[in-house]
Subunit: 305 residues, 2 copies
């Protein structure tokens, strides 16, 4: 594959930055990738595992001369990080991010973007329940979507270049405006995460059922929730706080529907339940046909010994 950028800098070296590094190397998309993480321990780990061509001890050093700087930090600190690196950005460079929320990140970052620097927010819709520099892998973005959320009057050449990078990692790329992105993600990601966290917390809390029982008997459905509820706490705290309105809107709809199903249970309305459960099967089929999940039973766990 052709090289897309000469110099790329990652600020933050967790799951996404790490996967992006390995995916970029796999396809030869970038000449040199520099990296910076606030924690010395993370930088040491990165150096140990060869994550980044050069790990820098300051953000300023990492972004110096970079054609593309990607903020890979929790959503809550995007603004502070942008302010810190702004004076060191090269004229003509692009600054992007991988945050799960877009309107709030744009509000935080845009004021700090210097004249002559392109700001092109993005969000790769991929991840796992693991976090940190060791958790990345080159295949994370394969056949998953990355949404680019260009701000008003975005430079189309700079957008096309960022798109080429993401496509080079194996991702499918689409563009979307920030408000719609935040609503779509509230439905497909933020509300499901909060719900999973809640259910796991309730199980952990219940005095009459022991944690040991919850753990032993989790194969009946619960363990799928625990995977989601094992996701990075800092990242998710920031997501909920910065996509507050859309998340609360979807949770409101969810609660309304849950109450209706609870009432159907209480009243013994089997037809309502059956019709509802039949409808939800179709969505699953759509996801499998779209290549976004495996059709193997239990995600393929069942076949493993």
């Amino acid at each position: 594959m052709t090289q897309v950028y000469d110099r790329v800098a990652f600020i933050g070296l967790g799951l996404i930055a790490s996967s992006l590094f390995w995916a970029s190397k796999r396809a030869g998309l970038v000449g040199e990738i520099t990296g910076y993480a606030r924690s010395a321990e993370t930088r040491d780990t990165a150096r140990e595992i060869g994550l980044c061509d050069r790990v820098c001890d300051t953000a300023a050093e990492a972004v110096e001369g970079a054609d593309l700087v990607i903020l890979c930090v929790p959503v809550g600190v995007m603004g502070a990080v942008a302010a810190e690196i702004a004076p060191y950005l090269k004229r003509g460079a692009t600054i992007s991010d991988v945050g799960s929320v877009k309107a709030d990140v744009i509000a935080q970052v845009a004021p700090h973007v210097p004249e002559g620097v392109h700001f092109i927010p993005a969000h790769p819709l991929a991840g796992t329940e693991h976090s940190g520099p060791r958790s990345g892998f080159a295949e994370l973005f394969d056949n998953r979507w990355t949404l680019i959320v260009p701000v008003e009057n975005a430079d189309r050449v700079a957008v096309a270049r960022l798109r080429a990078l993401w496509e080079g990692t194996g991702a499918l790329v689409d563009e979307m405006d920030a408000e719609h992105h935040d609503l779509v993600l509230a439905v497909t990601s933020h509300a499901p995460h909060l719900i999973a966290y809640t259910m796991v917390g309730v199980a952990d809390d219940l005095q009459r059922v022991t944690d040991e029982e919850v753990i032993q008997y989790s194969a009946t459905g619960f363990r799928d929730f625990t995977r989601i509820a094992a996701s990075d706490p800092t990242m998710w705290r920031d997501v909920f706080l910065s996509n507050k309105d859309a998340t609360l809107e979807i949770l409101g709809r969810f609660t309304e529907e849950l109450f209706a199903l609870q009432r159907a249970i209480r009243q013994g309305d089997g037809d309502h339940l059956h019709a509802y459960f039949t409808r939800t099967r179709a969505i699953r089929r759509g996801i499998i046909e779209a290549g976004q999940d495996t059709d193997e039973p239990n995600f393929g766990r069942g076949a493993k010994k």
Copy 2:
């Protein structure tokens, strides 16, 4: 492995009966297994794929002479099926089931159990989102728990024999009383299923987000919910209706906790969220250490191409 029963009959030939057949054959646990399903199409499929040594056209024929009869039908029809087969049960035989709810099944079935027949309810805590005779596989119960829920004054020899069958399929076996079983399952299975069904229904319903978007962008968490929400509608309708009290109790606790987290989001209480999300990670670790799930990212999906 030693043969545990000479003759076993399955009433109902879905995922569980089918898996139990293949697991029994794998380990040589049973001399002859007969089977019956109400639908002629299911019986034809069973004959086509070699599911059961003999597929019978009536339940009476299937259970005749059987040492063990296992009811593998939806929870809502256990009583009716028990009434139908009761006159044909051999003296000294055991009747068991695989229902996901125990108190209600016991209430339905016990009145029909003839003098001299042992009734030993059981529940294998294993399954997939697929259903029907073709969905079974021998490994389904490997290292998963089966709970035996003996009724009062159960014959210990008959219980030990049923336990030996389940252990022979690869399952871990424990005993529990019916009420506690139903509460534990409400937490680990029934409430999570209802929540997943609800969330998938909400996503499908939302006018401002298209189904296509929900499907394309599902890798962000939502697709885990859709797997659960693709489970058999008839089975699950019956589970909720027959484990009404425990399910509604857990859903009440869930809603309470969800409201507290929603309030934390609304008020910007990041510490509360972070502490909650940190606690739930520990449960996941417990499940992995107990061998009840894989530690591979995304259940191992991420590594597949």
